[in-house]
């Protein structure tokens, strides 16, 4: 993927991730606001919002993508030391490996919970509980399904 550098955003390949972050940092965006992931289905989008401590109204977004399952993201802690906790949370929530440094789980201490925010990971309790609207289905009802639940699909 080619790098796209706009005024407010950069979408880069993962091997350009640290270069893009360093460029934003050297341009004056010295604070990391957040770093997180978005499950786009065919890939996980990593997005970091960077801002300036001297001009807090300025901000830019740096984005890259990693594959779902087995994705590896370079560690940004040498550029933004505060990235550590964000990377730990992104790593455990989307089952992404951070390429270097210690990144133990931050919130999910049960290994089985790793990848909790992936869209493919359904909420077990919602699958187990019958959707209340199913009780009212009748001959004149259009059928509908609740969001985010696929009865009959399990996590195993």
């Amino acid at each position: 993927m080619t790098a796209h550098i706009g005024r407010d955003e950069a979408l880069v390949a993962t091997d350009q991730w640290l270069r893009a972050l360093r460029q934003f940092h050297d341009d004056g965006l010295d604070m990391l606001d957040f770093l997180t992931g978005v499950d786009r289905g065919e890939h996980i989008e990593i997005v970091a919002r960077l801002t300036s401590s001297s001009q807090p109204s300025t901000s830019c977004f740096a984005r890259t993508t990693v594959p779902v399952g087995g994705g590896v993201l370079p560690c940004a802690c040498d550029i933004y030391p505060g990235a550590a906790w964000h990377e730990r949370e992104t790593s455990e929530m989307f089952a992404i490996t951070i390429a270097s440094g210690e990144h133990p789980p931050l919130l999910l201490h049960d290994q089985g919970q790793r990848g909790a925010l992936l869209k493919a990971r359904l909420l077990q309790r919602r699958n187990e509980r019958p959707w209340p609207a199913d009780a009212g289905q009748g001959s004149n009802r259009r059928t509908s399904r609740p969001l985010g639940v696929a009865p009959g699909v399990t996590n195993e």
Partner: protein, 118 residues
Amino acid sequence: MSEHHHQLIAGNSHGVIALDPAACTSCLICVRECPTWCIELDCHEEPVAEASGRRPKVSNVLDDFRIDFGLCMYCGICIEVCPFDALSWRQQFDYPSDQRQALVHDVLRLKPPADNQR
């Protein structure tokens, strides 16, 4: 709750929810839209007699309506989506119980207040 304590609560606070069963058509929209799945509705179909002899029709009749206030997060989505304004806020904030199941209010308990009540 004492009257004095009740006076301390802002008038636009989200209190308990009331259901006017006469306005409810059992459309199930509130049940579908509730994010916590805390609304349950029992209904059955009854045939509707049509004097003009067109094709047979059924209508849905409400049997019971339950809101589990132990789960409810008082977002008000059910009140907003009801096309018939059957659901509304009440200025009631005090309904604790020693039984978990008693936090589920059925259609009798969800009756809207009389004119002289909150």
